[in-house]
């Protein structure tokens, strides 16, 4: 079941093409990673989802029907470049932003109380934003994003500016919101967070979507049958036993055990390799090298750019 679908989105700013036939679908209750180099068109897509700007072509669906401007009250958006009114008191400001999302005064106050207590920042209510550190401001911004219990949350680089402790706190909050049923679109350049959090990703490059799928499938797709083996024994013996369908990528000799990376050139079956190796050395560990999202990102973007020069 999809909460949000964008179908064949095109968007141009004058002569600049921001999005070219981009489609994504975000499953209900999932965390969707929206990836891409700077200037690829991610922010434009996010703004289209938020109804800040309209696509030139294409359709948007929200919760099973065509998306309307009223749906923005069910979205919470934390932009990458975010700010608050410097001279306004924290509490008033959070209340104002909650009311703009369509909450009544009473509901907003109740919900704000809950979040301020949860983050232990009740004492900040009457402080002005300019008195707070950047990390403190980010907490307030996070609260104003989730205050109206949105069904869809959009976070653009949510962890930038947070120290590791607070970044972890926010991460836990995001996971908790997901567990409570919220759907999350997540845009970041931090690939380890993507691997930690996302179920599904889409990669946008130069205004086109060039990769889309569940994260484990993508990693499987982009693995190149490389195996890492630790063994006890002689490297020369090992290398002499390998037939031409295997290539040694690197090897390392250590006092107790050696490590070798071997690529299977004409197949995917790891047993082919194990069968050969057991004759040459004592195998300590054997694992297939699965590419990290970082590797996938670089590989996909670079090969796309190379073929579209």
């Amino acid at each position: 079941m999809e909460l949000f679908i964008a179908r064949n989105i095109h968007k141009e700013y004058g002569a600049t093409r921001a999005l070219n036939d981009v489609s994504i679908s975000v499953g209900k209750g999932s965390i969707f990673g929206l990836l891409g180099p700077n200037g690829a068109g991610k922010t434009t897509l996010i703004r289209i989802i938020n109804q800040i700007t309209a696509p030139d072509q294409g359709e948007l669906f929200f919760d099973g029907r065509k998306m309307t401007t009223a749906d923005v009250s069910r979205i919470g958006y934390l932009p990458e470049e975010r700010g608050l009114y410097k001279k306004m008191k924290i509490g008033e400001q959070a209340l104002y932003l909650a009311q703009l999302k369509g909450m009544s005064y009473r509901d907003a106050m109740k919900s704000l109380k809950y979040w301020f207590e949860k983050f232990d920042i009740v004492a900040w209510w009457d402080k002005k934003v300019e008195e707070l550190s950047k990390g403190m401001q980010q907490k307030v911004q996070f609260i104003t994003t989730v205050i109206h219990k949105p069904d869809l949350l959009i976070f653009d680089e949510p962890f930038s500016g947070f120290d590791p402790i607070n970044a972890n706190l926010i991460k836990q909050e995001i996971l908790e919101l997901r567990d409570k049923g919220a759907t999350i679109i997540f845009s970041t350049h931090n690939m380890s967070t993507v691997e930690d959090l996302c179920d599904h990703i889409a990669l946008i490059n130069k205004s086109r979507k060039i990769l889309d799928g569940p994260i484990h499938e993508i990693k499987q797709t982009y693995k190149s049958n490389i195996f890492e083996v630790s063994y006890k024994g002689d490297f020369n013996r090992v290398s002499s036993l390998l037939d031409p369908s295997f290539a040694i990528l690197e090897h390392q000799e250590n006092p107790y055990e050696n490590t070798i990376r071997i690529q299977h050139l004409n197949g995917t079956d790891s047993n082919d390799l194990i069968r050969l190796l057991v004759n040459a050395a004592e195998i300590v560990s054997f694992r297939e090298v699965i590419p990290s999202m970082n590797d996938v990102f670089i590989k996909v973007v670079e090969s796309y750019n190379a073929s579209n020069q």
């Binding site: 923005v72 470049e81 975010r82 700010g83 608050l84 104002y96 932003l97 703009l100 369509g102």
Partner: protein, 447 residues
């Protein structure tokens, strides 16, 4: 609650509770009252400095005619003392030395020397006194030469002042008393009020938009409300701030004036008026016609009543609102289009130029409210808020007024459309130097 209303409320409350707002709101009327009260108060205070002036009179005509006036004493001296004083006036007990030459009647000149700078009023006082004495002397001679004993009375009776009553003829042919002075003041006052209001609060809108853009809070806000709602809430909220301020000023001014009137009793006011009149000898004639001046004031009050007040009030409200909306939406668009104050100045000037032009045109409109400059300036929407309003007190043909209103409304719709387009594109655009060509391009962007 409607989202525009939420924005309006915030905009209004943050402005109105600001210290700077409270301070200016209270200080401006205080300043204005002070500007009226202090000079008046100073004028009623007598010059209490005791001065003795040595007079050397070659004619012997003035002895006994001038001895003391206010705190100034006159002491006549002989030629020896005069010569001594001429050498060393600073060392003497005298403040100044007045030399009246023997031929004063023909030359009309005397000389006042002092080691200090003689106050203007004292010099005038002496001039007036001497003139009166010489004039009386001459007059006496003329009367005795002519052989008409009551010539003086006859001349006084012949003195004439004619006042022209301006009447406005309505279409039905009935004559109404009007005062061109009242029309002039009304048209200038309203023109300037609109000018200042639009300028002040238009730039307030601009700064408020720029603040949100600089803060980067705007992206969060327009993910909740439409940019148009945000802009309208801002413009209307700011208008309300302005109206509050003007309202408070009017109340404070009325209170202030009442206090001032109580402070100056009618007698002291009259004294003040007299002393002002006395200080200008050429206006001596007016001095005798204070009842006439009072009559004039009554006439002015009368002619204020004959102005078409409902039309003026309607015109004021309409052009006030129209002018404000027209310019503040453009200023809002500028605030959205630029990143910093320097860039904004470059765009503000071309936008506010028609406003400045209108004020310049006010002069020519008041000279000729029917002329072609007045006509075009009051029809073209960017100058009409000030120029048409300035013409209304003089009377404007209905079709011109309707055409002007119609054009202003149509232009307003168009300008708001353009401003909203620029606003929604500009507000999320950073690091781009904008010019008019770029702004024009934004109009073609979709949604």
């Amino acid at each position: 609650m409607n989202k525009t209303l939420i924005i309006l409320k915030r905009e209004y409350l943050t402005r109105v509770t600001k210290k700077s707002f409270i301070v200016t709101t209270l200080l401006v009327p205080l300043f204005m009252v002070a500007l009226m009260v202090i000079p008046a108060w100073l004028a009623t205070r007598d010059d209490n400095q005791e001065r003795t002036i040595a007079v050397y009179d070659e004619t012997n005509m003035f002895l006994g005619q001038i001895s003391q006036e206010g705190s100034t004493k006159y002491h006549f001296v002989d030629p020896d003392t005069y010569n001594r004083l001429k050498e060393n006036l600073a060392g003497s007990e005298f403040y100044a030395l007045l030399y009246i030459p023997g031929n004063i009647i023909t030359t009309n000149r005397a000389q006042l020397s002092s080691p200090k700078q003689v106050p203007f009023e004292l010099a005038e006082q002496i001039e007036r006194r001497l003139s009166q004495i010489v004039e009386a002397d001459k007059r006496q001679k003329v009367i005795s030469e002519s052989g008409v004993p009551d010539l003086e009375e006859k001349l006084a009776a012949a003195r004439t002042r004619i006042s022209v009553n301006t009447m406005k003829v309505t279409e039905k042919g009935e004559e109404k008393k009007s005062s061109s002075m009242v029309a002039f003041i009304a048209s200038y006052g309203m023109g300037f009020l609109i000018y200042f209001f639009v300028f002040m609060y238009g730039s307030l809108v601009m700064r408020s938009v720029m603040e949100e853009k600089k803060n980067r809070i705007v992206e969060v806000i327009i993910s909740s409300v439409k940019p148009f709602e945000l802009m309208s809430g801002k413009i209307l909220g700011t208008a309300l701030v302005g109206l509050t301020q003007v309202g408070i000023w009017i109340v404070l001014l009325v209170v202030g004036m009442t206090v001032v009137q109580g402070f100056f009793t009618p007698e002291s006011a009259q004294e003040m008026g007299q002393s002002l009149l006395q200080s200008q000898p050429q206006m001596g004639a007016v001095q005798q016609s204070i009842p006439e001046a009072e009559n004039q004031i009554a006439e002015i009050l009368e002619s204020i009543k004959t102005l078409n007040l409902p039309l003026i009030i309607f015109g004021f409200l309409f052009y006030f609102l129209g002018g404000y909306l027209l310019y503040s939406s453009l200023m809002g668009a500028i605030g959205a289009a630029v990143d910093n104050d320097e860039d904004s100045q470059q765009l503000v000037f071309p936008v506010t130029f028609p406003l400045i032009l209108s004020i310049i045109l006010l002069f020519s409109i008041s000279k000729n409210p029917e002329g072609s400059i007045a006509f075009w300036a009051s029809i073209i929407p960017f100058t009409s808020p000030i120029c048409m309003l300035a013409r209304i007190p003089y009377g404007v043909p209905a079709w011109e007024l309707l055409l002007s209103i119609f054009l202003l409304i149509t232009t307003l719709v168009g300008v708001i459309w353009v401003a909203a387009k620029i606003y929604r594109t500009g507000i999320l655009m950073y690091g781009k130097k904008v010019n008019l060509k770029e702004l024009y391009k934004w109009l073609t962007y979709r949604g």
